[in-house]
């Protein structure tokens, strides 16, 4: 294997919030019956995380499970382990109707943190970013300006954004533009 390279190689911007490309992240798209015991066991053993309810992410030491739709999970694992975890999940799902695919390289991830983080996202996504409405552990698939994106908030007030790799440049410039100094809205 050649050295894998993420879309923007860790690019960063700092303004009313900090924006950082998060490098390579292991991600598996899993489609199946989320209520199946077999599937729950498979993803729990692969990530250590419990099955999230709708609109949530369940995070573990080095992985997590994001609720994407009634029959889809985004499984977060360490990038180096993605193929092994994929095999593990597939083995666990033997005989079950499901589809698991490595999508790590199809994605780019960004972290947005700092006081202005909520407002930066509220400039780009039609989501209620108020402190009461968007709490740690929440996971949202949405639109970021003109592209699809998803994000969750961790317990350190950092937002983790997932988008398609091909639009990494666009999303980074969007986030940097929204985080321009002196563009604080002053509501969050």
């Amino acid at each position: 294997m050649s050295d894998p390279v993420s879309a923007l190689n860790g690019a960063a911007f700092s303004g009313m919030a900090s924006v950082t490309e998060g490098g390579l992240a292991g991600m598996i798209t899993l489609r199946g019956d989320l209520s199946s015991a077999k599937l729950k066991d498979a993803v729990k053993s692969a990530t250590g995380a419990a099955m999230p309810v709708s609109g949530k992410v369940e995070l573990s030491e080095d992985g997590g499970l994001c609720w994407m739709s009634p029959d889809e999970l985004l499984v977060l694992v360490r990038y180096e382990e993605v193929e092994a975890k994929l095999a593990e999940i597939n083995a666990g799902l033997k005989g079950e109707h499901a589809l698991a695919a490595n999508v790590s390289d199809a994605r780019a991830v960004f972290r947005v943190s700092g006081e202005g983080a909520r407002e930066v996202l509220a400039k780009l996504c039609p989501v209620d970013m108020s402190v009461d409405a968007f709490v740690p552990g929440q996971f949202r698939r949405t639109r970021m300006a003109q592209v699809a994106a998803a994000f969750w908030l961790d317990h350190d007030e950092t937002f983790h954004i997932v988008c398609f790799r091909s639009v990494a440049d666009y999303v980074f410039t969007l986030l940097s533009t929204a985080a321009q100094p002196q563009s604080e809205v002053g509501v969050y």
Partner: protein, 1005 residues
């Protein structure tokens, strides 16, 4: 003259003078001035000329309703036309130019139109420009283009210097308007715990109340405003925004807020405008009311102003528009202006009250101050060119005779007040006619309805028709509580405010002054100032048969200017109703549409400009392409290299070089953008057979098959190579533009029709970087990199294998879209660039060159392969393209099968795909039509075919093309004609569409 007063001016800071220019003249104002008040303080009453007659026009209003005073603001990349001076805050260095004048504001050639006005009646444009036909292009249009329009468009070479952004916000209750009604509604709503957002379009809170006076909770309005603001600001659940206009109300409680952040401090860092995109559970429109002008002759002469506006100028900015003022009214409110002017030391020559008995307590107050009040009197006409000079007075109940003429330099008029019902109406709120107030007000029983069938907008205060302070405050309290309750919060008591009612005599509707004004007067009586519509125009429209107010609006252009008839609407439809002999409610109003006042294009675009105007999708190798001469071509949101152009060659030469090299040596194509969809499940085979026209369920694991997809209407929508991955899994390649579309197509069928089939689809397009390694040396370069066996035996044509090439884990496909020996190698996207580099390095000795999409197109056209989007256009079926071999006859069903059996689809007269070769080797123009004999019903030549793809083939060294031709397959060797748009008639022979390697030997080695 208009001038600054020694006293008054609650909003200005006289210790902070500000310099600005108007038409290049240096002027001075104060901090807190609007451009309007500062112009008046500098005796600049005339600020522009009207649209049609170029009549001198002055300030009429003091706020968003101003129709006349539009200027070009700023310079260079911050120039903006049509800026309303009444809503422009003064700042140091402001530079404004008046509009619609030539050569100058003071002397305007177009003003001659005013003397021709009897030749320019309503509907003039429609009547005049019908005949003769040729006049339109050569005479009328150039003249109209010169004289029409308001401000000048900004220089097209310059780009807006500022930044803009959007902001999404969610609230339980959004209150539009920060006057005392809005603040009181906010207080009542916020007390329940609801999340409240208050939007105020100006930079000050409280609206008109501090100007109009009265008392709220036993204190003066200003003190009450400050106290209430402080209370609201201290609450966590309240957000207050000034300079933020509630611009529109839309379905489902969607509200647009237009925030002007740096209009008053241009050049300051940060966004200039921010568009708030708000979701509200409930909306309270506390948008106030707008005063109506009175319709008398000369009511457009600069110096004639709304009475309320004149009061604003005195109280807010310490400016009087005149020294000798005549007040004319049909209601008590205008007496406040007279009293205010008098107390400020301005001479109020006369109060003309059109009501026979005059007014109430305020009239008495005015009389006691010594102001002469004349009930039952009216203005016959105002004279003066660029400034009010004389006012002719007559009886209201007459024709305008027996006039007394008095000298005056300003007229304050009041025709009553109309609630601002715009935001209530935007989403369907209905209105009722209030006979007593002679205005339309919101009908609370017919509000805009949300998804649940209940109302989501509540009007409050004077926007709801409450016309005195006591009524306003009570109504606002109720509205705020009701909104919070409707949003799911329990109402709280103890927040109501009590204000005194003033003792006013009812107004009397006056739609024409004097009541029986003759035609000479009516032709000088303006309804719509900006669009130059007069009483006589509306009357003419009615006589010509216009009954609908919507038609009359368009015929006369009443209310169609940038102010959208804020002043003219009610007066215009009252005149129409009167002329038609019907009641005003029967005539009705025109439709109110957002935005309330124009908002900037920048705000609408938000962050989407420059580099992020649109997303650009980039493959992992994009950077290399960019650094190596890529001539970019957009394909969907992707950018693909059209060709890799070297220095000292043209794009065409680069394409030819790439074609030749790929045929002779080795070419590399970045094919990462091709769609890759995984289809998996126990029913996947059955699903694949439905999706594709040909059989896919019997494809062997390890093999590939070219497939076609049709819509249920039978038309070809996509094509690509399908690979069988394992027993349950297929991988479908789609076109670059088709990946998301076909993914959605598959999901739609699975979710809506075949929801019980065990099939999942995943789009893994971007997971993989894919490189086409093409040409006689393709195998050599792969073998040099080492790894998996890519020999003909181990990896035959139309098969795939997983393995390793060099250090790269990959999936290798033996497929060819070029007719050459060809592999497509997919590697993880994160290693795509490294793989590309490895191929380039290893390929040096084999003559490697990257190639772009145009080379790809030529290679496929030489082989006669179709391209979705070239040979197809949504009306083409596979049978047209000679692809019947790819349509299964064994399958019971597939999408499009039934449609393709319909008579028109099976018609032998459908145009068929053929190859085309020009007789002289030239290139056929793209999209050209082939002409046949005779003419069609429109007198045009009959067409018998069209070009779908056309190129210069470097391999054949001649023009080659494909096209759809009537009876095409039977016409081989026939020469048909294609007239070009250049006047040339191109002649082409119908040939086999496969120009190169007809036997397909080269790809199968």
């Amino acid at each position: 003259m208009s001038t600054r007063l020694a006293n008054q001016g609650r909003l200005i800071d006289r210790s902070k003078p500000i310099e600005f220019t108007f038409n290049g003249n240096r002027m001075t104002g104060y901090e807190g001035d609007t451009l309007a008040s500062a112009l008046l303080a500098n005796d600049q009453m005339m600020v522009g000329r009207s649209f049609k007659y170029h009549r001198p026009r002055g300030l009429v209003a003091s706020g968003a309703e101003e129709p006349n005073a539009l200027v070009g603001l700023g310079n260079g990349n911050r120039f903006e036309p049509n800026q309303r001076v009444t809503t422009t805050e003064l700042f140091a260095g402001l530079s404004a130019q008046s509009q619609n004048h030539w050569p100058s504001l003071e002397f305007d050639v177009g003003a001659i139109n005013t003397h021709l006005s009897r030749f320019l009646p309503a509907g003039f444009y429609y009547k005049m420009f019908m005949y003769p036909k040729a006049f339109w292009k050569h005479v009328y249009e150039p003249i109209i283009r010169h004289s029409a329009g308001l401000g000048k468009a900004p220089d097209k070479e310059l780009k807006d210097a500022d930044q803009y952004e959007h902001f999404y916000f969610f609230a339980d209750v959004v209150i539009v308007g920060g006057g005392v009604a809005g603040l009181q509604a906010a207080k009542a709503a916020a007390a329940t715990g609801a999340k409240v957002l208050v939007l105020e379009q100006t930079n000050t809170w409280g609206g008109r109340a501090p100007v109009d006076g009265g008392s709220i909770d036993d204190t003066d309005p200003q003190a009450w405003i400050e106290k209430t603001l402080a209370e609201l600001a201290a609450m966590d659940n309240v957000t207050l925004r000034t300079r933020c206009m509630g611009s529109g109300v839309y379905d489902h409680g969607y509200v647009l807020g237009y925030e002007r952040l740096t209009d008053h401090t241009p050049g300051e860092a940060g966004p200039r405008h921010r568009l708030w995109r708000i979701r509200a559970k409930q909306i309270v429109t506390a948008t106030g009311a707008i005063e109506r002008p009175l319709s008398f002759a000369g009511n457009d002469v600069p110096g004639v102003m709304l009475a309320g506006a004149m009061r604003d100028y005195v109280v807010n900015w310490g400016v009087t528009p005149g020294k000798r003022v005549v007040v004319v009214t049909n209601n008590d409110d205008a007496y406040r202006t007279a009293i205010t002017l008098h107390k400020a030391g301005v001479e109020v020559t006369r109060i003309l009250d059109a009501r026979p008995a005059g007014g109430g307590a305020l009239m008495e107050e005015a009389r006691q101050l010594g102001i002469r009040v004349e009930p039952g009197r009216a203005i016959a006409k105002v004279t003066g060119g660029k400034r009010v000079a004389k006012v002719a007075i007559c009886a209201q109940d007459g024709e305008g005779g027996a006039q007394e003429e008095i000298a005056a330099d300003a007229v304050a008029m009041s025709g009553g007040w109309s609630p601002v019902v715009h935001l209530w109406s935007h989403c369907g709120g209905k209105l009722i006619w209030d006979e007593a107030q002679a205005h339309f007000r919101p009908d609370a029983s017919r509000p805009p309805l949300g998804a649940d069938g209940s109302g989501f907008v509540i009007a409050a205060g004077s926007a709801n028709g409450a016309m005195d302070l006591g009524g306003v405050m009570a109504d606002a309290s109720a509205a705020g509580s009701a909104a919070a309750e409707a949003a799911g919060f329990a109402a709280k008591t103890g927040t109501a405010a009590v204000a005194s009612d003033s003792d006013e005599v009812p107004m009397q509707p006056i739609w024409l002054m004097p009541a029986k004004a003759d035609i000479k007067l009516r032709m000088k009586t303006w309804l719509d100032y900006q669009n130059d519509v007069k009483v006589s125009d509306v009357q003419l429209a009615a006589r010509e048969g216009y009954e609908s107010v919507e038609h009359t609006k368009r015929y006369t252009t009443l209310g169609m200017a940038t102010d959208q008839g804020k002043l003219s609407n009610i007066n215009g439809l009252a005149v129409l109703a009167d002329t038609l002999g019907s009641e005003i409610p029967q005539v009705g109003t025109t439709t109110f549409r957002p935005p309330y006042t124009p908002i900037s294009m920048g705000a609408i675009g938000g962050e989407a400009r420059g580099e992020i105007f649109q997303p650009v999708r980039k493959t992992p190798m994009h950077g290399w392409h960019d650094a190596n001469g890529a001539d970019w071509e957009p394909v969907g949101h992707w950018r693909r290299a059209y060709a890799f152009v070297r220095s000292n060659e043209s794009v065409e030469e680069a394409v030819a070089r790439e074609v030749t090299n790929t045929r002779k040596n080795l070419g590399l194509l970045d094919a990462s953008t091709l769609g890759k969809l995984i289809v998996k499940g126990a029913d996947a085979g059955r699903f694949m057979d439905m999706m594709y026209t040909n059989m896919m369920s019997n494809l062997k694991v390890g093999k590939c098959r070219y497939g076609l997809m049709c819509s249920e209407n039978g038309f070809l929508i996509d094509d690509g190579v399908v690979a069988r991955i394992d027993e349950d899994t297929w991988l479908c390649h789609t076109t670059t533009g088709g990946a998301e579309r076909i993914h959605g197509h598959m999901e739609e069928w699975l979710q809506t029709e075949w929801w019980d089939w065990k099939v999942y689809v995943a789009n893994v397009t971007e997971q993989l970087a894919q490189v086409a390694v093409v040409g006689p040396n393709a195998r050599k370069v792969l073998e040099k990199l080492g790894g998996m066996d890519v020999s003909k035996e181990a990896l035959p044509f139309m098969e795939w294998r997983d393995g390793k090439i060099g250090e790269f884990d990959c999936r290798a496909y033996r497929i060819s879209f070029s007719g050459e020996l060809s592999y497509e190698i997919a590697v993880p996207a994160s290693q795509g660039m490294a793989f590309w580099t490895a191929l380039l390095e290893a390929g040096q000795e084999f003559g490697v060159m990257p190639y772009g999409t145009e080379c790809l197109h030529i290679l496929r056209a030489e082989k006669g392969f179709i391209m979705i989007g070239d040979e197809t256009d949504g009306t083409v079926i596979p049978q047209d393209l000679g692809l019947s071999w790819a349509i299964s006859k064994k399958k019971e069903d597939f999408l499009g099968k039934r449609a393709q059996l319909r008579s028109h689809m099976a018609d032998p007269d459908r145009w068929q795909l053929v190859g085309l070769e020009t007789v002289d080797g030239s290139v056929l123009p793209d999209g050209a039509y082939a002409t046949g004999n005779g003419l069609n019903a429109n007198g045009q030549r009959n067409v018998i075919g069209r070009v779908t793809s056309t190129y210069h083939s470097p391999t054949m060294n001649k023009g080659i093309a494909m096209g759809l031709v009537h009876n095409g397959r039977k016409r081989t060797d026939e020469v048909i004609e294609f007239p070009g748009t250049d006047g040339t008639i191109y002649k082409a022979k119908i040939v086999d569409q496969v120009f190169y390697d007809k036997e397909g030997e080269k790809q199968n080695v």
